[in-house]
């Protein structure tokens, strides 16, 4: 029963963060919101009894992908300024 409430809360939070990632005009907020979507879906994978997939999604989606986005953003701002 607790898992059902937890997964409803996680699903709503994932969808709200995804709408923030697409809609917000500030790019830094959008990148961090995409990282949060990845992190919370990793918790949802753990509730769905898939620990390998949860570990991979947390390390790759929420760690490396966000870092690469910020490197690119910094280089573009230095080039255009």
């Amino acid at each position: 029963m607790i898992y059902i409430i937890l997964s409803v809360f996680l699903g709503l939070f994932i969808l709200v963060m995804a709408v923030v990632a697409v809609h917000n005009q500030n790019i830094k907020v959008a990148i961090i919101a995409a990282g949060i979507v990845s992190l919370f879906s990793s918790i949802l994978y753990l509730i769905l009894a898939a620990p390998d997939v949860a570990m991979t999604e947390a390390a790759i989606g929420s760690g490396l992908s966000t870092v690469i986005f910020f490197y690119v953003l910094n280089k573009i701002r230095k080039n255009n300024a």
């Binding site: 699903g11 994932i14 697409v22 790019i27 009894a49 989606g61 992908s65």
Partner: protein, 123 residues
């Protein structure tokens, strides 16, 4: 009601994430936002695939001392879609890093991130 179980909630979340990702790819003008739309689309598809594999009341597909070796067929969830999603997550990172490298090169040429400036091939 019969719709409040874990796999139904997560497959609905996955499908809605796919729709939000497609909406982001089609309407945004900033190149970086389009790449963010692609990552949301990937995450949605992986959620759908893992939640198809769930069997109610069972546990993760690892045989240790809590699951008897001969009884494993009745106690584990489906391991096959999880193996497919493992590969797909790593390939999604490779494609994202390639798209971002192309964005760096494009920005060096035109000094702008708006997609309306790159309309050379438009008919």
């Amino acid at each position: 009601m019969e719709y409040l179980n874990i796999e139904y909630i997560s497959i609905t979340t996955g499908f809605l994430l796919i729709l939000i990702g497609i909406f982001g790819i089609l309407t945004q003008k900033n190149l970086l936002k389009i790449v963010i739309g692609f990552t949301l689309f990937d995450t949605g598809i992986h959620l759908v695939m893992v939640s198809i594999a769930y069997v109610r009341g069972r546990t993760a597909p690892i045989i240790d001392e809590t699951i008897n070796v001969n009884d494993a067929v009745n106690k584990i969830v489906d391991p096959l879609p999880q193996a497919l999603v493992l590969t797909a997550i790593v390939i999604g990172l490779g494609v994202t890093s390639l798209m971002l490298a192309y964005i760096l090169k494009l920005n060096k040429e035109r000094k702008s991130l708006d997609i309306a400036n790159f309309s050379d091939l438009k008919w």
